[in-house]
Amino acid sequence: MKDVLGIIFAEGNEDGLGALTTMRSVAAVPIASRYRVIDFIMSSMVNSGITNIGIITQRNYKSLMDHLGSGKEWDLNRKIGGLLLIPPFSSKDAMNSNTLGDLSDLSGALDFLEKSPQKYVVLSKSHLICNLNFNEAFNQHVERNAVVTILYKNLEPMSESSGLKNRYFLKTDDEGRITEIKGYSSTNDSTSISLNIYIINKEFLLYLIRDGLAIGEKGTLSEIFSRRLQHMRMMGYNCDGFVARIDSIKTYYQANMMILNQDIFGKLFFEPGLIYTKVKDEAPTKYQESAAVKNSLIADGCIINGTVENSIIFRGVKIEKGAYVKDSIIMQNSEVRENAILEHVILDKEVIIRQDIRLTGQESYLILINKGAIV
């Protein structure tokens, strides 16, 4: 995959994440005890052999910059290529961003695209929790002489209907060529849901951006591709494997809880590659005499002396004696003091739950406590 560069949109679909994204982009939302959302797609790219990755940011990207640093944890601190953060771009003749969709967001990456020697681009949003290898899809892209390849997943059975708003469905012919890209509607009859991961010939992408900027083309990339289906060869590629999309508090919570499943855990973190993240050099977690933990994921640096069930515990969390944490997500450096009870709660970073406090949510009504709060 030497001839492929990566572009990741750090933002989009923030609205549903409430207080989790007031101070950070969706890419930087902490997940699965020690990761940030962007780690998964970025590790997937790196494990596929991509060594040149640009990340397009829009707002509040301090937390993301802090997380990514020079990119050394992903082996992206390179002399040739490596990691490039692309902050918002605006000039007098460029269009006002945020109103015109994906192409104007991409305009900031024009320079990066032009100067990079690679001929192909893998383009994705950051909010997918997955462990993918793009080699097979890329080979298919080249062999079938496609201009764009869209990765999709078969959604069967069509169970969830709530999370399908703003999602796109594909139809392909026998050869795999895409014949239709359509936003979800009540009359939808396709089960191939787009992952919004694209493999694109760089020249075509450059053309789209320049052309789009000139005529003021609006909309998402899916819509833009849809308009050109008849003239350009666009292929679908069916991706199996676990993919969770983070676009609401509910999907965020569900994705964390799904990772507790050992089959998903084993695949998500080890196959086909490892997932990299920023190293914090915490000590191993200490279990004290009253600790009672079951079915939970626990990161390093915690001190546990209470009861934890079906929960996701991040680095440096303290759970004191008599505390009871169930079906909850406790982010970095939060503390749950003696005899406090938490059920269906998400604690953002550095929250303190004082002694004897009781917070009980429901799976359909999760309680979210903001960063740094003392309850």
Binding site: A32, S33, R34, K72, E73, L260, Q262, F265, L268, F269, L274, I275, Y276, V279, D281, A283, P284, T285, K286, Y287, Q288, E289, A291, A292, V293, K294, N295, S296, L297, I298, A299, D300, G301, I303, V308, I313
Partner: protein
């Protein structure tokens, strides 16, 4: 010319034969410790935290794993453009080349390296101690006393004093006499094997020592006694805190267990003095329904279904259902299958203990000789082994 005030050299060439199978393929400083560390992480992290940014690691015995572990030094923030970490094995010179004959000779052979940084002072460390120490305080003490050499000392229990180099000092902490492993110790102030020398002074003594064919080229046996006899200003710096020589299986096991105390003497959770290590790239650890973990340290990548008490579980360890682990240290990647019982054992990297094994339960089993390496009932199982189903291993046995 650019120069450094103080650079450090870590003596990491020791074979560590008293650690048995644990050092069969790796040098002692590369032996795993405390779940996610290796012994050398302690002096390296101490250097970083003490603002010493130039460190030479003198390797000789089985350096491969140590070399790949240290790499560019990035995990310890020691990848610097002027300075950083260097691995210094013995090498051929124009006339001849030889192994490091002793601790002083190892430094002598690397005088060119030290000269590159033209330091005022040189800090000599050893790669087999577990401790957190601020070397910059010792350096201040050394400079304030205008000392030629400063030896860091710790009070040891009197009954153990004869195992160490013992100092006798005047009221200003200037050393008047140095006894290497005395039979009848006059004090309990023992050398920790941590020295600071004025480089110009040490350089001359190293050259002199090298010319003396009768010398065994050792700091404790030769160089320091010679300096004392010539009335140099040598001071003892009192270190107060946790310090442990982990040269034997028993002391290595103890040092691991001491991390599990309710209030450990060495606080691994202190954010102001972190111990850095190379990250294993593992997910968080998973504790299953039915698992019980008490008074233990568990790190990333482990998956636990069984019962763990008073033990150290390193990265990537798998513990099956109904397995019982007590008072043990499991090194990275160890797999314990269902129904095993493991008591007071140290198990080397990636070893698989198959179903229903009983380790460290029986006092004696015919055909199993207690090992000289093990004591106090500790079972030692080497790395990369597969222990067959239902195997029983008695106390004090070493398995290779």
């Amino acid at each position: 010319m650019q120069k450094k005030e103080c650079i450090a050299l870590i003596l990491a060439g020791g074979q560590g034969s008293r650690l048995g199978v644990l050092t069969k393929k790796v040098a002692k400083p590369a032996v795993n410790f405390g779940g996610k560390y290796r012994i050398i992480d302690f002096p390296l992290s101490n250097c970083t935290n003490s603002n010493i940014d130039t460190v030479g690691v003198l390797t000789q015995y089985q350096p491969l794993e140590l070399n790949s572990y240290i790499g560019s030094g990035q995990p310890w923030d020691l990848d610097r453009s002027f300075g950083g970490v260097y691995l210094l094995p013995p090498y051929m010179k124009s006339e001849s080349g030889e192994w490091y004959k002793g601790t002083a000779n190892a430094i002598y052979q690397n005088m060119n390296f030290i000269q590159m940084y033209n330091p005022d002072h040189i800090l000599i460390l050893s790669g087999d101690h577990i401790y957190k120490m601020n070397y910059s305080k010792m350096l201040d003490f050394h400079i304030k006393n205008n000392a030629d050499a400063t030896i860091s000392c710790i009070d040891v229990p009197w009954e153990q004093a004869s195992r160490f180099g013992i100092m006798e000092t005047d009221q200003n902490m200037r050393i008047v006499k140095f006894y290497e492993k005395p039979l009848t110790p006059v004090s309990n102030m023992a050398s920790m094997g941590v020295y600071i020398f004025k480089w110009t002074v040490l350089k001359n003594y190293l050259i002199k020592d090298e010319m003396d064919t009768a010398s065994s080229n050792d700091f404790g046996k030769n160089v320091i006694p010679t300096m004392l006899s010539e009335d140099l200003r040598i001071f003892a710096y009192k270190f107060k805190g946790y310090w442990k020589d982990v040269g034997t299986i028993q002391s290595l096991w103890e040092a691991n267990m001491e991390l599990l105390y309710k209030k450990p003497a060495m606080n691994m959770f202190d954010k102001g003095w972190k111990i850095y290590s190379k990250n294993a790239i593992q997910p968080p650890h998973y504790v299953a329904d039915g698992a019980v973990i008490k008074d233990s340290l568990v790190t990333e990548g482990s998956v636990i279904y069984g019962k763990v008490k008073n033990s150290i579980i390193s990265s990537g360890v798998k513990i099956g259902k109904n397995a019982v682990i007590e008072n043990s240290v499991l090194f990275p990647g160890v797999v314990v299958e269902e129904g095993c019982t493991i008591k007071k054992a140290m198990i080397g990297e990636r070893t698989v203990i198959s179903e229903r094994c009983e380790i460290g339960v029986a006092e004696n089993i015919s055909g199993q000789e207690p090992s000289k390496i093990c004591s106090d009932g500790i079972v030692l199982i080497g790395p990369d082994l597969v222990i067959g189903k239902g195997t029983k291993i008695a106390k004090n046995v070493m398995v290779e």
